[in-house]
């Protein structure tokens, strides 16, 4: 199916946005009750973190791409590809954030990839 390149681009954008949001929010720090009591001040603080802004932007682009995908791709074909975001986020977490993963998690990632490939082949029918 020729929808696959756009689906993959959309998933990658969403994963990149997610990573940026994660690192951006980490720089804001834990959101305690004090911070939540002043939502406007909090929103202003969050909105000035470049990673958060850029992360939201990428999320927005991915949402637009997703709408284009779903205009002529069955949901049951397109949605499984979103599982790949775990693979992208994990790869980035290992490479950039130097997080460590257990064997079970690698097995999980492999299963996700196999599952997506199986779904991808159903698009030919």
């Amino acid at each position: 199916m020729n929808a696959i390149p756009l689906i993959l681009a959309t998933v990658t954008l969403a994963a990149a946005g997610q990573l940026l949001l994660k690192t951006g929010m980490a720089s804001v720090g834990a959101l305690g009750a004090d911070a939540l009591r002043e939502p406007i001040a909090l929103a202003w603080r969050v909105a000035r973190v470049p990673q958060v802004v850029f992360g939201f932007l990428l999320y927005g682009f991915s949402a637009v791409g997703w709408i284009v995908v779903l205009a002529d791709t069955p949901l049951s074909f397109a949605y499984p590809f979103l599982g790949l975001s775990y693979v992208v986020v994990t790869a980035a977490a290992v490479v950039i954030l130097k997080e460590r993963f257990a064997g079970r998690q690698w097995a999980g990632l492999a299963l996700i990839v196999v599952g997506v490939v199986v779904v991808a082949f159903t698009g030919r029918s």
Binding site: L21, M25, A30, A63, V64, W66, I67, V68, L70, A71, D72, P74, L75, S76, F77, Y79, P80, G83, Y86, T90, R100, F101, A102, G103, R104, Q105, A107, G108, L109, A110, L111, I112, V113, V114, G115, V116, V117, V118, V119, F121, T122, S125
Partner: protein
């Protein structure tokens, strides 16, 4: 612990909203029939189903991120992973022809996401155990 129960309910709400949002997006986007991407996006912005689907998706994502810090990833991920089978089931109910292999692929992805989440708790447990002097 009481807070935990609320967190689980919120995760379930997040998953349900996410799944419903996807179906709304598909139903909305697939009925636009606009020529070209620009026209499609303009029509999408005016489609209640697309806008509603996006809103459900946004609330679902925000809930997920807000609650994830209060609940074990090993318990949250299986709930999130269930969306992969739920979405396919909803799509089938909505009239999509779903070949058996696609169900199989979705099930593999569900198990895979659950496994990815299961590793995190092992680490957290280790840290917790170390902090409590059990290691």
């Amino acid at each position: 612990m009481k807070q935990d129960r609320a967190a689980y309910v919120l995760v379930a709400v997040s998953v349900a909203l996410g799944v419903a949002g996807q179906l709304l997006l598909r139903l909305g986007a697939s009925s636009l029939h606009a020529p070209g991407t620009a026209a499609l996006l303009r029509a999408a912005a005016l489609s209640p189903a697309v806008v509603g689907g996006l809103a459900a998706y946004a609330v679902s994502s925000a809930l997920w991120l807000a609650v994830l810090s209060r609940i074990d990833v090993s318990k949250a991920y299986p709930m999130g992973a269930s969306s992969h089978v739920l979405v396919v089931a909803l799509a089938a109910l909505a009239g999509e022809a779903v070949p058996p292999q696609r169900w199989g692929g979705a099930a593999l992805i569900m198990v895979g996401v659950t496994l990815v989440g299961s590793g995190h708790v092992a680490e957290e447990d280790l840290v917790e155990a170390a902090e409590e002097g059990r290691l």
